[in-house]
Amino acid sequence: MVESFSPRIVAFCCDKSGYVAADMVGKLRLSLPESLDIVRVPCAGRIDALHLLQALEKGADGVLIFACHEENCQSLTGNIRAKARMGYLHGIMERIGLEKERLDLCNLATNNGAKFAETVLQKFDELKKLGPSPVE
């Protein structure tokens, strides 16, 4: 039954932008799906390709990386590295039959609360259509 399936999303949030935007979603009282897991990291560059794959392996239906906008990163290249690692993993995921949409990155700033909620809900619907993770 697809309706009852609510996809589990793991969101890696950079402490400088993503996590603060997540807090702002709370302040704005916008609703977020219950199956959203927020993981706080000091910088998007801290997320190892290993962690992203582990998240998918442990049954997450979708993984989102929230990083600062480009040229607005305290660690200069943190967000660009996260994007590059995502590209590398997309290569591997395609070869093992995982859809690329299950791993995505969204650039935002501390005051982009609305964008955070919109991105999560958009991904939530997308994953609902995509169905549960084949690695289940």
């Binding site: 807090d23 609703s31 190892d48 390709a49 660690s75």
Partner: protein, 574 residues
């Protein structure tokens, strides 16, 4: 991950002024107390107020817990204050985690029951994660109150004066024979009465006279290395002798260079650069005549051919146009793409210039120049009085044409960028305009930039930047010591394959790879203190704890003390 037997967790529930009380009912508190390794459970109405924190500290010191999980709002609400608590020897103030149930459960899930479920899962995960927390200490090292300012221009002088007044010993290094830089060519302020040169001489006098400033001129910059508290600049004086200048912090104020536009027709002697125009005005207009003493009657300023988004030329052009009309009664044209009036008082100057008869012509396609019996014929299509399609254009026979020089980064920028690991923007100026660094800070702790080497600006804007950079340095050195917490990366030498990935990816150049790392202090994995091994080492005081090196290291040799890989994996485990 140490076995969970040893850790004793205290749960601290923050009701956030009662807004979460409906969640933390007895059932919830009982659930929390029942979680593995939880030894105590405290409740409080508002943990963000200092007074209530003291009460909590008293309870925690008496309790048996060695780490805590705060259940309440965002970590940003607790981290700053909680880390500074003194919780007795057994409890390191960094060993706590925050279960952000308010923003991630209560406020974003309308239904109370499901919000409670979510609260439980979040707290359970934090408990699992708390098992692999490790104590983080703080360190302090003395900072001698001295600083180095590179560049003897107006910006360097103002920064040196600001630092010296805060009794910091300053060494001012300048490549030129004397300090002063290019601003000396300015004759008048554009918005305030009074000569620049008198203001200028007194600045130079103040710098040379100030007891705290040591000026070293005509020195060539050869290298710069070190970290906060221990920066060493290598310079070479004309005799070729190399010397090293010490300083706790560095301000880069080397300004920018200019390339005059002299190829083709621009090489003609009737084409002059803005500084030449300033010089002509400085000597009372005596030189505003041709060699046969005939007055150079029409002067045309051409703007925005180069440096279109830099306001300096536009401001000087309007100022000089007014002077030419006021004192020398010349016919003056200003030909530009956009008149730059976004400076204090410039709109009034622009109107004053037009009232005095200066003719402003705006173009979209650049003007063409040709030589017509000794005079320069400037052909330009005025935007507002003709359609784009028309082929005729205005032609202005001018005796003197002022063409602006191209502003280019100084040649030291590239060398400094390589040596210091500071990124260059496309045109080669220092540090892209990244809002996180607020113009004066760089990605190297203790190194600040101001003025033309960052971006060519007018005199006032550059001086404010000089003071802001001086403020940055004063802040760092004012306490006499630099205290930092060890929430940084640390490299295990045994696993390090010296593959040089980490110094290359580190955005703050905080990692060095020494041949034989004498005195490398390693505390992980039971290796004894003094270790002779070719490996990479993190300079704790330069590290910002971003963790890029940890995720790039191919042999997993680096651990980020405040967020280890295990902690992330546990957070991910659903």
């Amino acid at each position: 991950m140490r076995s969970s037997k040893e850790c004793r967790i205290a749960i601290v529930i923050d009701h956030c002024e009662g807004t979460l009380s409906h969640i933390f009912d007895e059932a919830m508190v009982r659930y929390f107390s029942g979680l593995p390794c939880v030894v105590s459970c405290y409740q409080d109405d508002n943990l963000s107020s200092p007074r209530r924190l003291e009460k909590l500290v008293a309870k925690l010191r008496k309790g048996k817990a060695d780490r805590a999980v705060i259940v309440g709002g965002s970590p940003k609400r607790y981290e700053a204050s909680f880390r500074r608590l003194d919780l007795g020897t057994g409890f390191n103030p960094y060993m706590f985690l925050v279960a952000n149930v308010r923003e991630q459960a209560v406020w974003t899930i309308p239904d109370v029951e499901r919000a409670k479920e979510k609260t439980k899962t979040i707290v359970a995960k934090r408990i699992r994660e708390a098992t692999c927390l490790s104590p983080i200490g703080e360190e302090k090292f003395e900072l001698s109150k001295n600083a180095i300012v590179l560049g003897g221009g107006v910006v360097g002088m103002r920064a040196a004066l600001a630092l010296a007044d805060a009794n910091i010993q300053v060494t001012l290094l300048s490549r030129a024979k004397d300090i002063g830089g290019k601003a000396i060519q300015l004759t008048h302020f554009y918005d305030r009465p009074g000569e620049v040169s008198s203001w200028f001489k007194d600045q130079v006098k103040k710098v040379k006279k100030h007891p705290n400033i040591a000026v070293k001129t005509s020195v060539e910059l050869k290298g710069l290395e070190g970290s906060l508290g221990d920066y060493r600049v290598k310079v070479e004086d004309p005799s070729g002798k190399r010397r090293e200048v010490e300083g706790s912090a560095v301000i880069l104020a080397m300004g920018n260079d200019v390339i005059p536009n002299t190829e083709g027709i621009f090489g003609h002697q009737r084409f002059i650069s803005p500084p030449q125009m300033e010089a002509m005005l400085a000597d009372g207009g005596k030189s505003l005549v041709t060699d046969k003493e005939r007055p150079l009657q029409t002067v045309t300023f051409i703007l925005d051919l180069v440096n279109e988004t830099i306001k300096i030329d536009s401001a000087n052009a309007i100022k000089n146009a007014i002077l030419l009309r006021e004192n020398h009664d010349r016919a003056v044209y200003v030909i530009c793409r956009d008149v730059k009036v976004s400076l204090d008082g410039m709109e009034k100057q622009y109107r004053k210039a037009r009232e005095m008869g200066v003719i402003f012509i705006k173009y979209d396609d650049p003007p063409k120049f040709s030589l017509v019996n000794g005079q320069i014929n400037v052909e330009v299509k005025e935007v507002s009085i003709q359609m784009r399609g028309d082929d005729y254009s205005l032609s202005i026979l001018s005796d003197l044409v002022v063409v602006s020089e191209r502003f280019v980064p100084s040649k030291d920028n590239q060398m400094l960028a390589d040596v210091l690991g500071i990124p260059l923007a496309e045109e080669g100026f220092l540090m892209d305009e990244n809002p996180q660094f607020a113009r004066v800070r760089t990605n190297r702790r203790g190194v600040f930039i101001a003025g033309g080497c960052r971006y060519p600006q007018t005199l006032d804007e550059s001086l404010v930047e000089a003071e802001a950079a001086a403020a940055g340095v004063t802040e760092l050195l004012s306490q006499g010591f630099f205290g930092y917490d060890l929430a940084v990366a640390e490299i295990d030498p045994a696993k390090c394959a010296a593959c040089l990935t980490c110094p290359r990816v580190c955005p703050h150049s905080a990692i060095v790879v020494e041949r034989y790392a004498e005195g490398n202090v390693y505390v992980t994995g039971g290796y004894e203190k003094d270790f002779r091994w070719k490996a990479a080492r993190v300079l704790p005081m330069q590290c910002y704890g971003c963790g890029i090196c940890v995720s790039s290291c191919p042999t997993k040799a680096i651990t980020l003390k405040h967020l280890t890989d295990d902690e992330i994996s546990l957070q991910v485990g659903v």
